[in-house]
């Protein structure tokens, strides 16, 4: 089963779980499954049905934005990593 790596900031929505096993075959299916089990994740991951801009999602080593976005396939032994961007700057 694919495993999803949950960043610390989102673990308050997953009962503290850092890694969750899922069954979906695409990132969209995986995320639908996550949100169904942990509804608090929806607002954290999505904005108007699209992935939030500052949320990076990787399937294994590949950024899904450079593959097929939410339609990117997920193989049974893949790791899906959700990783908020690290960004900032000197000007407000």
């Amino acid at each position: 089963m694919p495993v999803v790596r949950i960043p610390t900031v989102l673990r308050r929505h997953t009962d503290g779980e850092a890694k969750l096993s899922v069954t979906g075959g695409t990132v969209r299916e995986v995320f639908d499954e996550l949100v169904a089990a942990h509804p608090g994740l929806e607002d954290q991951l999505f904005e108007d049905g699209d992935l939030r801009g500052f949320v990076n999602v990787f399937v294994e080593d590949e950024d899904i934005r450079f593959i097929s976005g939410l339609d990117t396939p997920v193989e049974p032994d893949d790791e899906v990593a959700i990783m908020p961007a690290v960004a900032g700057g000197a000007v407000s």
Partner: protein, 139 residues
């Protein structure tokens, strides 16, 4: 209890040197914090290569974070301010998504006296962690 952050002198110098290395652009990276306090440095490219903004290269970030998390080490996130003080800007606070991390800011505002300060940023609230610079390295 006041939560401090310890930086050995070598890492302090390394971060300042790195801040100068791409001046006037902002640099960024991670530190893994081992249980004995020694630090592993993960320089990460600023994908924006900007004087006022940084976004860590996502793939480099993934690799560094995976390594730090799988080792169960602590994490510090640093970036430089080349022209402003070592204090989180409104942008830094708004985009801070790692409540468990220590945020380090390396300021080159005073060219002769570079400064590093440490903060935690949780739900938009900034708390300074006194920075302790250790002169001798742990074995």
């Amino acid at each position: 209890m006041v939560d401090t952050f310890e930086l050995d002198r070598r890492t302090f110098d390394l971060l300042v040197e790195r801040a100068w290395s791409d001046f006037p652009y902002e640099v960024c990276g991670l530190l893994g914090v081992r249980p004995d306090g020694t630090l592993d440095h993960y320089p990460i490219d600023n994908a924006e290569r900007s004087m006022t903004y940084y976004v860590m290269d996502a793939k480099q970030l993934l690799h560094a974070m995976r390594e730090i998390e799988d080792a169960d080490h602590g994490m510090a996130i640093y970036h430089s301010h080349t022209h402003t003080a070592a204090f989180p800007s409104a942008t830094d606070v708004r985009l801070a998504a790692y409540p468990e991390a220590t945020y380090l800011i390396v300021s080159l505002q005073d060219r002769d006296a570079p400064e590093i300060r440490a903060f935690s940023i949780v739900d938009g609230e900034v708390t300074e962690k006194p920075l302790v610079v250790r002169d001798e390295q742990l074995a």
